[in-house]
Amino acid sequence: MKKSNFYSKKVMENFRNPKNYGEIKNPDGVGKVGNIYCGDVMWLYLKVGKKQGGQDYIKDAKFQTYGCLAAVASSNVLAQSIKNKTIDQALKTDRQKIVRELDGLPPLKIHCSVLAADALYEAIYDYLLKNKKKIPDNLLKKHLAIEKEKKEIEKRYKGWTEMEKKSLKNEKNKF
């Protein structure tokens, strides 16, 4: 491992060898956060199982991230840390916890941990909604705030996001 003064060893490890990336087919919950304009997009997939006592728990978690090193590292530790946790336990994960698990992030990159936490909230929200389960007030509040921000950003960069869709479509046609 090469030294990096900017990032902790933990961050670098999680970037170099992320174990939890990829897509889960037929996921039970998906959280899609971030915006291509800001250069960070994070998708989190959840597979939910039932424990012997009947409690829901996160059987598997995988992420797909377009973003910087800190975004990839944040996604990876998030996916790792929620595995085998009950939904209630997983919901206790917040950005501070992600930063702690990474042994710190530079101030400029804290927003990456915020994004990872948001991806988790959105994925769990998606799972609870789809399965007609009760959504805790706290989570609903977070979901509404994330939705609002998403809409604002999309409005602000309307031209750019449309250009993006076209550009990616063109790429697909090429290959």
Binding site: A71, H111, S167
Partner: protein, 392 residues
Amino acid sequence: MKAYFDYAATTPIDPRVLRAMTPFLKKEFGNASSIHQLGQNARIAIDQAREKIAQFLNCQIQEIIFTGSATEANNLAIFGSTKRIIKDQPINPHIITTEIEHHSVLHPIEKLRTDGVKATFISPQKNGIVDPKDFKKALTKNTVLVSVIYANNEIGAIQPLKEIAGIINGFKQSQKSKFPVFHTDAVQAINYLDCDVKKLGVDLLTLSGHKICGPKGIGALFVKKDAPIEALIFGGGHEFGLRSGTENVPGIVGLGEAIEMIKGHKKDLNKIIDFRDRIIESLLKVRGAEISGGIENRLPNNINISFAGVEGESLLMALDQEGIFVSTGSACSSKDLKPSHVLQALGLSPNRAHGSLRITLGRYTTKKEVDYLLKKLPVIVEKIRAISPFKI
């Protein structure tokens, strides 16, 4: 292995430059303003360096003003000429520049805007080059300054300075006016392009030491005789009264030496062009690769490439882990989390702007380094793409 591909950020100092500088960091430490022998040795060294630069730019020695950096030279050009012109003639000043200037030009102009100065920002075409006709349209009798980067630092696009100068001179003659003053930031161009100020038709030209295998902390501004400009820094009246402060003798000597060496390195040019073409050809075979900016009229040492669905800073950091040093216009690497203004001005999609990788070559680039880059980069691109939600 280490492979340096960030020559547009800075360059290593040439051993000959260092040798020329060393005496002035040691025994010859005199202040050029002192009239004793030690001082006069420093004075002679400064004069010789000034002579070398004047020769390179095809101008007079009194037209070279040494500064602490190219940023300072750009600030002197912009604030100094604007202030001077409006002092002589009370008008509501207007400045024309481009959307693809370096921050050391854009931010001084932004500062002037907060003080009430009007500014027009010319957009480049898709190839990164501005259309001189746009300048004709933008010129007004209140235009005090036109500032255009000679070759862009991110995409290497070479701007048509001669044509713009022709338009400005025609305008000046028709208006019988001493302004607008025409300034160019030639920092990236010095190594590769003809910088004869008479041929270019510029009044002010900025250059830097550390982009041309010279030292950091030294820049210079060419100021055409009689061009309206005034000092921003006052003191002992150094540099013909335009920039006070004890001369950075080793820096000046190093800059002079570095400039003089450029003509001896023309053979490197072919090597650099060969490397560049090989890198472009090879990397364009990677899925989703696209070059930003045009290929024509581009600095021979600049490659700016993106790979669909792959974010630039991740790519940069993964390359860094392999000892390969490049640069990116991705937002993640900027303080304001916005992607490069230059790439946005080209009309690139967010995915392209955030995914940009700048690879810049130089005098010391070796075949071994290029081979290493071409071996590692495609593998790393696919590794990062595997993590990305955007599949192509």
